[in-house]
Subunit: 100 residues, 2 copies
């Protein structure tokens, strides 16, 4: 575990960025195309500052990109392969149900 601890840490940082219900929701919504912060805030229902911080986490992880146009900031998904994460987590959930 010594040679590439850094690699595991980098990967963990990305996965950590996804490890939150609100951020998964954001990724899900962005799958259909870009959205501005105010639109996402409306969908999520918590404080805009909270949403903005979640978006920053995703941006720092390299998962989303931002594009300021006028007063609004639009966010887009940078790596669509992220969506496979959700697909796999569904499999884990259903295999869990079956083993009960």
């Amino acid at each position: 575990m010594n040679k590439d601890v850094k690699d595991y840490r980098k990967r963990a940082d990305i996965i950590k960025a996804l490890a939150h219900p609100t951020r998964l929701f954001i990724v899900d919504k962005l799958a259909d195309g870009e959205l501005c912060v105010c639109k996402l805030t409306g969908l999520i229902g918590s404080d805009m500052s909270t949403v903005s911080k979640h978006l920053l986490v995703l941006k720092n992880a390299g998962i989303v990109e931002d594009d300021k146009r006028g007063l609004q900031v639009f966010y887009t998904l940078k790596c669509p392969c992220i969506l496979d994460f959700l697909e796999c987590s569904e499999k884990v959930i259903s295999s869990k149900k079956n083993s009960l």
Copy 2:
């Protein structure tokens, strides 16, 4: 965000279980086949109690299964699709490098 908040929470729980360098390392090692706790502890280099707790997190998430044989407990990967997570995170990392 109201109808299926629970779904997002469930998914987040699974992803959260993966969001740690040590646990990613464990998953990576288990990809080649089952391993006992003592073997993993040797590879990781931290306290066995710590490794055991990491394994519990993965088990509760439905990602690994345990099988006690004699004194040892062997852990196996339950959903190999988990490995795609790592592949995708590599893509995010490299796309991040390119955008700097």
